[in-house]
């Protein structure tokens, strides 16, 4: 229609005017939306992105609306509505009616003439004022433009304060995994300080920004920075850890970073869950405090203890920063013991050396291989102190029964040598003196070698050694007589008796050792059962297997050695072998229950190490009532010699005599002590205490130890020890002992003085000698004072205790008679004691008789002196106790053991006590004759009681 062209003109006129403005408004809204989205996104929270997206989408909606309007305005009616309706509403309505009519007549010609309708429409349209439409359009456009400008202005206004926030918002919105893709510089770093951990004792330092640096773990890095933009939440981060900056009140920000390891530390700004890091960071290499390195001399190695009773432990421990402790660690099976070797106060290196003895309690009680390491602990407070461990020394202790088997074999060889001699003598037709003298010497040498030998610290001692020595002496004596008389029968007879006695001793040795070893094996069998039981728990299976294998090896080896210990050893050794098989059999089949039972059965059996078959009075020889009871005895099948039994009886009788005499001594001591009234006693005690202090003062300048035993220093040290002992004895009220010690100290002081005089002038030795001389003068006087005090006390006490002293005198007489009876019993029996011991016994008897006489004469002090002499002789008359320690050890097994157990007087529980103990130990450590060892032990026991 032509008229439509008119409408198009109207629409175009309107559109040309309003569309650009509308478009500008859309753009302004979109622009505002974008800015708003970035600002929302900058929050960095979980909701930020969805909110930003919403805003962005919402800001794009006007475009869609505009497009929709444009499409709608293709319709003439819409044009009329939007344009003429606002300028000439009545005309617009008429025009719309006319259009409607025209359309109707077009569609339905019988409604009217289409031409007339068209004409009417055209005329109506012709009346529309285009000018007014244009004005309207212009107004509209201005409105839209105004709104657009306002919108744009607002958006600008929000961001103009800090336009960078938009950039931040975009960056944050684009973040992945909480890190924005575009780094931003946030601060101007002014200073970075680094403070190492205090234990390293290193000075504080500066770190250059953005350059790689090496810092110790635990170092505190302090970053001082000036922010380039305010209002940002700034942090230091390595991506895993984060430390916030804080305002220091002076306009800069500070953050402290603790070095825990390697890290690339950057300054970053945190926006909610997103960080925007700076482009450059500080690369830190965290230097770790290493565990100490420890070297142990000779390790790794495996050493058999039997051949090596002393193991030198030389160590060197190094650490990069500092050592705190060095320890010796012993491990066997599941047992572990740690002993501190040193506690370095400072320094990076610690060295030292000790000797580990085979009679160490842990080694002695272990039959499993012992792993020895030296471990060092550093002083790292940051990650905690760490232990460094050396390579191990594996010590193979002697197996149960191994040393005993060697000892048995040695004595057996000596017995066999005696058998050979007997056979030779039995085959002689006549006795040749020189030959037999040589033979006797040969026999003696053979046995002496056995007495002198040791097997991993075990020696032939005690009752069996005494029996053998006694037999040799008797044989020697008899042989001399027989040789002198050329009496071959007598010589053969004496040799037979000696052989049977030694044989009896050998059997007894084997039996005793078998019993002792069996009990130890019983413990191992029980440990085996326990180890099997823990394997029920699958998590402990490996540990169980390891332990069981170790224990079965110990049992197997132990059984193997038992069979070399005579009759009982063969019996029980076989039993142990079978016991091991009984354990292994079910274990191999996976039957832990029966394996454990078998181990328990073996343990129960070995705990009572009697022969497998016994009959009272028969000892397994088949005595009994009949078939069911093992059969009848054979004549002549009894014991060939009772030597061992008699030796045991003698030993017991001697011990009883010793104990009773000791009790007698205590009674006399108590009687004399109680004879004085309490006030007098207290006054005397006070006097003794004062004297003791003076004694200590007199020797306090003297040295406490010395390395060269032949030096003045050593003599002075010994004197000091003895003087200290004198002081201790005085404090205890044992004045006699104190005088004894004092006299010993004076001797050593004199010796020190002499040695000092021989030393060069102004040397340390000379000085010590002079000091000893001074001390000697003081001590002499003190000893005299003590002696006088003692005499006064004794005199008073003896007068007051006459009744008990007489009783004691009678007691001493009786004991002296018993001692003589024992002498006779020994000489006449099958197990004579060695002559030296018999002589001591005789001397003891004489001393007891002297004591009886003095005590009867109310001479308490003299009586006590004689009693002490008698007691000493009694102790020397006893066979030495079973010795199980290194023969040539400078400390001596007894001395070292005793020193650990010594009871230090309460008065000296300070450093002096420790020094005192050390000196006693050193003093005891000197080699003592075997027959004096027990006496020395008891003597020192009294000293330190």
């Amino acid at each position: 229609m032509q008229e439509l062209g008119t409408i198009e003109r109207i629409a175009a006129l309107y559109r040309d005017e309003t569309h650009p403005a509308a478009l500008r408004l859309c753009v302004a809204i979109l622009f505002g939306g974008v800015l708003g989205a970035t600002l929302l996104g900058r929050a960095g929270e979980v909701w930020s992105r969805p909110a930003a997206a919403f805003v962005l989408i919402a800001s794009a909606v006007p475009f869609f609306v505009l497009g929709s309007i444009a499409r709608r305005r293709r319709d003439p009616r819409a044009v009329m509505e939007a344009t003429v309706m606002h300028t000439e509403p009545e005309l617009a309505r008429r025009a719309l009616r006319a259009m409607h009519l025209a359309e109707q007549t077009e569609d339905e010609p019988d409604r009217g003439s289409p031409e007339l309708a068209q004409l009417h429409f055209a005329r109506t349209l012709g009346k529309v004022s285009l000018v007014r439409v244009a004005e309207r359009a212009a107004q509209r456009a201005w409105s839209l433009t105004g709104v657009g400008l306002v919108a744009a202005g607002l958006a600008f206004g929000v961001v103009i304060v800090d336009p960078f926030r938009v950039v931040e918002g975009v960056d944050v919105l684009a973040a992945r995994d909480g890190v924005a893709p575009m780094p931003v510089r946030w601060v101007e770093v002014t200073r970075i300080d680094a403070e190492p951990p205090s234990y390293l004792q290193l000075p504080r330092g500066r770190v250059r920004p953005y350059l790689p640096t090496v810092l110790y773990v635990g170092t505190t890095v302090t970053v001082h920075a000036a922010p380039l933009r305010d209002g940002r939440r700034l942090v230091l981060t390595d991506g895993a850890r984060e430390v916030p900056f804080a305002d220091d009140g002076e306009g800069t920000l500070v953050a402290k970073w603790e070095v825990e390891g390697d890290a690339d530390v950057k300054v970053a700004a945190r926006f909610g869950g997103v960080v925007v890091p700076e482009p450059r960071g500080l690369a830190i290499h965290g230097q770790v405090d290493h565990a100490p390195f420890v070297s142990l001399g000779g390790a790794p190695a495996t050493l058999p203890l039997l051949d090596q009773p002393r193991i030198p432990i030389h160590w060197e421990a190094q650490d990069d920063h500092g050592l705190r402790e060095v320890a010796l660690v012993l491990r066997a099976g599941d047992e572990e013991v740690r002993r501190t070797l040193s506690k370095p106060k400072s320094g990076l290196v610690d060295r030292g050396g000790i000797d580990l003895s085979s009679d160490d309690a842990f080694l002695r009680d272990s039959y499993l291989p012992v792993e020895v390491t030296v471990e060092a602990l550093d002083n790292d407070p940051v990650n905690g102190p760490k232990w460094g461990r050396s390579a191990p020394l594996v010590l193979m202790p002697p197996q149960i029964g191994e040393r005993e088997a060697l000892r048995y074999a040695a004595l057996k060889a000596a017995r066999d040598a005696l058998i050979d001699e007997l056979a030779r003598r039995m085959d002689l037709d006549e006795l040749v003196a020189s030959t037999e003298e040589v033979a006797q010497k040969r026999i003696r040498n053979t046995f002496e070698k056995v007495f002198d030998d040791d097997w991993g610290g075990l020696r032939l001692s005690g009752r069996i050694a005494a029996l053998a020595r006694g037999q040799l002496e008797r044989l020697d004596t008899s042989a001399k007589k027989a040789i002198a008389k050329r009496d071959l029968d007598a010589l053969v007879g004496a040799t037979e008796e000696a052989l049977l006695a030694v044989d009896s001793g050998l059997i007894a040795l084997g039996t005793n050792d078998t019993r002792a070893s069996s009990r130890k094996l019983a413990d191992v069998a029980m440990e085996t059962a326990t180890a099997i039981a823990i394997g029920v728990d699958p998590s402990q299976r490996q540990r169980s297997e390891r332990l069981v294998n170790a224990y079965l090896t110990v049992l197997d080896n132990g059984g193997g050695f038992l069979v070399h210990l005579g009759r009982l050893g063969r019996d029980l050794g076989e039993l142990v072998d079978n016991g091991v098989r009984r354990i292994e059999r079910p274990l191999k089949a996976g039957d832990r229950y029966h394996a454990r039972l078998a181990a328990e059965d073996l343990a129960a059996r070995l705990r009572n190490p009697v022969p497998s078959f016994g009959a009272a009075g028969g000892g397994g020889h088949g005595h009994g009532g009949g078939v069911e009871s093992g059969g009848m005895p054979q004549p002549g099948q009894g014991e060939a010699s009772e030597a061992a039994e008699q030796a045991a009886g003698l030993e017991q009788a001697l011990e009883e005599l010793r104990q009773e005499h000791e009790q007698q001594m205590r009674k006399v001591e108590k009687a004399l002590r109680d004879a004085l009234p309490a006030e007098e006693r207290e006054a005397m005690n006070q006097r003794m205490r004062e004297l003791a202090q003076k004694v200590r003062d007199a020797v306090k300048e003297l040295p406490q130890q010395a390395s060269d035993p032949g030096s003045a220093r050593a003599s002075a040290a010994r004197a000091r020890a003895q003087a200290e002992a004198m002081a201790g004895a005085l404090e205890r009220g044992d004045v006699s002992k104190a005088i004894e010690q004092g006299e010993g100290a004076l001797q050593n002081l004199d010796q020190a003085q002499q040695r000092g005089r021989k030393a060069p002038a102004e040397s340390a030795e000379r000085e010590v000698g002079d000091q000893a001389g001074e001390a000697k003068k003081d001590l002499e006087d003190l000893v005299q004072q003590g002696s006088k005090a003692q005499q006064d006390m004794q005199k008073a006490a003896s007068e007051g205790a006459s009744g008990p002293l007489q009783e004691a005198a009678d007691g001493e007489e009786a004991l002296a008679e018993r001692a003589r009876k024992l002498q006779r019993r020994s000489q006449q029996g099958q197990a004579p004691l060695p002559q030296a011991m018999l002589d001591r016994l005789g001397e003891a008897a004489r001393a007891m008789e002297r004591a009886a006489k003095k005590l009867g004469q109310k001479q308490g002090a003299e009586g006590q002196k004689a009693q002490r002499e008698a007691q000493r002789m009694l102790e020397m008359a006893q066979p030495e106790s079973e010795s199980d320690g290194p023969k040539n050890s400078p400390e001596g097994a007894d001395g070292r053991d005793f020193a650990r157990d010594a009871n230090v007087p309460p008065e000296a529980r300070d450093k002096r006590a420790e020094d005192f103990r050390q000196r006693v130990t050193d003093g005891l450590g000197r080699e003592a004759p075997p027959h004096l060892k027990d006496a020395l032990r008891r003597y020192t026991e009294g000293l330190l009681r």
């Binding site: 044989d503 050794g573 009532g625 093992g630």
Partner: protein, 497 residues
């Protein structure tokens, strides 16, 4: 009708059990166990859960040697704590421990089952089977009762295990020198390797099997004197008798014991000869019962014994064994004892001094002991000449001692004097009582023409003595017979001085 019904029920119950008291299953089961009829015992007891039945099931398990099972059954908390339970539990526990990790061998054909506590004793298995088989046959013939299959033997290593298995206190076993016990339906005996010189294990096995038969045949009601008397009688009857079986004669030893005042009345022996306070009293006790039973059988005939066992079994619950004796023999037990003592008093038999349990060993015994030991020591170093001198001295004091003769022969052989060695060993007329080694050397010197039993008697006493097991062959050589070869190897493995 109802009355007849209930009477029938009562009869059946009575017939099926010798006890009328309830609970019947437990009692019936116990009797089946005592009869060694384990199949019947299982039928009665299996599945039963009441405390009484559980105890009998445990008893059955012990008899069968299943000690673990017995221990588990007896650990139930609802069982009444009484002597029976305590005894069974102690035995089950001890046996379970003593049999852990052991080895079992069976001869199905011979019906012999042996459990070895020491697996090295497996070398004895064929000999155990042979002895058990022959002994069982003799018992069937002599006593009219047979042990069911299998016969179970526990060969243990020591008296500790013997005590654990049986409940016999270990100290008692050591006092009397007990080597074997028949208990819980089994023979528990110590391996001959447990004693230095062995012991007559074969006769001991026969002795113990006799106990099992008598227990089974009398339902465990035979008194101790009868048990031991019959066992002593039967211990040698499984094999041909030797003249030494009666040395010393039980009559002589019994008489000496009576004269010395250490003999006990036959009914006053206590629960076990093994628990008498001394080996001498045990010896006399064994001799008394052996002498009495021998006398009684001699007076009443060979068939009297089987009849007596049956009579005892059939005694009513409160019946006395004396009644059974009177029933079988026509005379009371008390009178028999009197007659027997009178018989001894009339004959006054004497035992050789060396074998008398009541006489102290002569002083020469100590001298001989010394010389014996010196000879052993000299022989160990191969000083045969000197050893021979020592042995000769001992033999002068005890010329009929078999072991001294053996030592003498060994020394002479060591000197290469074989003929002198044979002479030194002597013949059966020259010795008082042979040892295993003596029999072995006798067989060796007689070149197989001596006593046909010599070899088996030797091994029956000292199987782990290498010269005996190896038939006097040199070290390194082995017997041809497979069984003896294995035994010889086992004997050589036993640790020796």
């Amino acid at each position: 009708m109802m009355r007849a019904f209930w009477l029938t029920v009562l009869l059946v119950l009575t017939w099926s059990s010798s006890a009328t008291a309830l609970p019947l299953d437990a009692e019936r089961g116990r009797l089946a166990v005592l009869d060694l009829d384990f199949a019947a015992a299982h039928r009665i007891l299996d599945g039963g859960d009441s405390p009484d039945v559980v105890i009998e099931r445990a008893r059955l398990a012990i008899y069968e040697g299943h000690c673990d099972e017995a221990q588990t059954l007896l650990e139930r908390p609802d069982l009444e704590d009484d002597d029976t339970l305590n005894l069974l539990f102690a035995v089950a526990k001890g046996c379970a421990r003593a049999t852990a990790g052991t080895v079992v061998m069976k001869d199905e054909k011979a019906g012999v089952w042996v459990r070895f506590q020491d697996d090295e004793d497996r070398a004895l298995f064929p000999l155990l089977v042979k002895t058990a088989t022959e002994a069982r046959a003799a018992l069937t013939n002599d006593l009219g009762a047979s042990l069911p299959n299998p016969v179970k033997i526990d060969l243990v290593r020591d008296q500790f295990a013997l005590a654990a298995h049986t409940g016999l206190p270990e100290e008692a076993a050591q006092t009397t020198g007990t080597v074997a016990v028949a208990k819980w339906g089994r023979v528990i005996m110590i391996s001959p390797r447990a004693t230095e010189d062995g012991y007559p294990w074969a006769d001991t096995l026969a002795h113990e099997l006799t106990h099992l038969v008598v227990s089974m045949a009398t339902r465990d009601r035979a008194p101790l004197w009868l048990q031991e008397g019959v066992a002593k009688r039967q211990e040698v009857r499984w094999r041909p008798l030797t003249r030494f079986d009666d040395v010393p004669s039980p009559d002589a030893v019994a008489w000496e014991g009576i004269e010395a005042g250490i003999a006990l009345p036959l009914t006053g022996l206590g629960p076990s000869i093994a628990m008498l306070p001394s080996p001498e009293q045990a010896t006399v006790a064994f001799a008394e019962v052996a002498s009495f039973v021998r006398y009684w059988v001699k007076e009443n005939g060979e068939q009297a014994l089987p009849k007596l066992l049956v009579a005892i079994k059939e005694l009513p619950r409160d019946g006395k064994v004396a009644d059974a004796i009177k029933e079988v023999s026509g005379t009371s037990f008390a009178d028999w004892e009197k007659r027997w003592r009178a018989h001894l008093a009339a004959t006054t038999p004497k035992a050789p001094a060396e074998l008398s349990p009541t006489q102290a060993l002569p002083a020469s015994g100590l001298i001989a002991a010394k010389k014996r030991r010196l000879a052993q020591l000299l022989q160990s170093r191969e000083h045969h000449h000197a050893a021979q001198t020592q042995v000769e001295g001992a033999r002068e004091l005890f010329p009929r001692d078999a072991s001294l003769r053996c030592m003498h022969a060994v020394s002479l052989r060591g000197l290469g004097r074989e003929t002198d060695a044979a002479a030194a060993l002597g013949t059966k007329d020259d010795i008082l009582r042979p040892t295993g080694r003596w029999w072995s050397m006798h067989d060796f010197f007689e070149l197989g023409k001596g006593d046909p039993q010599a070899r088996s008697l030797a091994v029956g006493r000292e199987p782990y003595n290498p010269p005996v097991a190896c038939q006097e062959l040199a070290w390194g050589e082995l017997p041809e017979d497979r069984v003896m070869r294995i035994l010889c190897q086992a004997a050589r493995r036993v640790p020796r001085e």
